[in-house]
């Protein structure tokens, strides 16, 4: 099933029309420089791992 029209515009027309004012939607998202953050770190070894063995415990039960 095709996307419904938006205010009488086909979806393609709607997208083209919205893209003309896309600046209004741009994300507000400032951050510090990654290079500066790393340069200023004292400890540059990762101390907490994302791989959590408890979370992956169920994989040990997979029959090989």
């Amino acid at each position: 099933m095709e996307r419904s029209n938006v205010s009488g515009m086909s979806i393609d027309e709607y997208r083209r029309w919205m893209k003309e004012d896309i600046d209004d939607l741009f994300l507000i998202n400032e951050s510090d420089s990654v290079d500066e953050i790393i340069k200023n770190m004292n400890e540059t070894k990762l101390l907490v791992s994302a791989v959590n063995a408890v979370e992956l415990q169920s994989l040990k039960d997979i029959k090989i």
Binding site: D23, F26, L27, N29, E30, S31, D32, S33, V34, D35, I37, I38, K39, N40, M41, N42, E43, T44, K45, L46, L47, V48, S49, A50, V51, N52, A53, V54, E55, L56, S58, L59, K60, I62, I64
Partner: protein, 208 residues
């Protein structure tokens, strides 16, 4: 991002994730299915090149116009770009054998997932180290990242996320960087709440 910074993230984020993932199964499994991770300089450079392309494209599509190209993105979006770059580089390889465990066959998705989480965690570490000694100590006690529990009858959180990445990719859906970055944000938020004493978690009970 300069090459010096990238090399730190490669070592602490991506390489460490690869080593941890490979240790999920025994040497026997790794040998049986020839399961390896390519940590060569060639792959390292490939990931960095691809990351820069993805990052610039992402920024142009969703952020400011050309005049503001110097604006910086937050670390969740940076980590999301790394997830896509690592996935596309296919560092993990294995024998083409249907009997291989699904996790081995999906290990490139796992690597992308855990690499991006390691990178996100690395910057959380930097923030705590710089801004709050007490929280930094609590962070260190964590040792491993925590994930929300799931109800009985569901995959664990991380397995569910890895499978979802695999399913979307296999079904030819494009990598949704915005949604992925949002997922990283909430995983980080969950761990911040634990570290900063806003919530406590009970030890996980064995699944039925």
């Amino acid at each position: 991002m300069n090459e010096t910074s990238y090399n730190v993230l490669w070592t602490e984020g991506i390489e460490k994730a690869g080593v941890s993932i490979l240790s999920v199964f025994s040497d026997d499994v790794r040998d049986k299915y020839n399961w390896r991770c390519d940590f060569s300089a060639k792959k390292r450079n490939e990931v960095f090149s691809r990351y820069k392309e993805i990052h610039d494209e992402f920024r142009n599509k969703y952020f400011y116009g050309d005049d503001d190209y110097l604006k910086l993105m937050d670390i969740h979006k940076v980590a999301a770009c790394f997830a896509e770059a690592v996935l596309e580089a296919s560092l993990m390889s294995f024998k083409k054998d249907r009997k291989a465990p699904w996790f081995v066959k999906c290990s490139n998705y796992a690597l992308a997932f855990y690499s991006s989480l390691n990178i996100m965690t690395f910057f959380l570490q930097a923030e705590y180290e710089k801004k709050n000694a007490k929280h930094f100590e609590e962070y260190k006690k964590l040792k491993v990242l925590r994930y929300p529990s799931t109800t009985i009858g569901h995959d664990t959180y991380t397995i569910g996320r890895i499978k979802s990445m695999a399913l979307k990719d296999i079904q030819l859906e494009s990598f949704d960087l915005l949604a992925y970055a949002d997922m990283l944000y909430w995983i980080e938020f969950y761990n911040r709440q634990i570290i900063e004493g806003q919530i406590s978690i009970k030890p996980r009970l064995p699944r039925a």
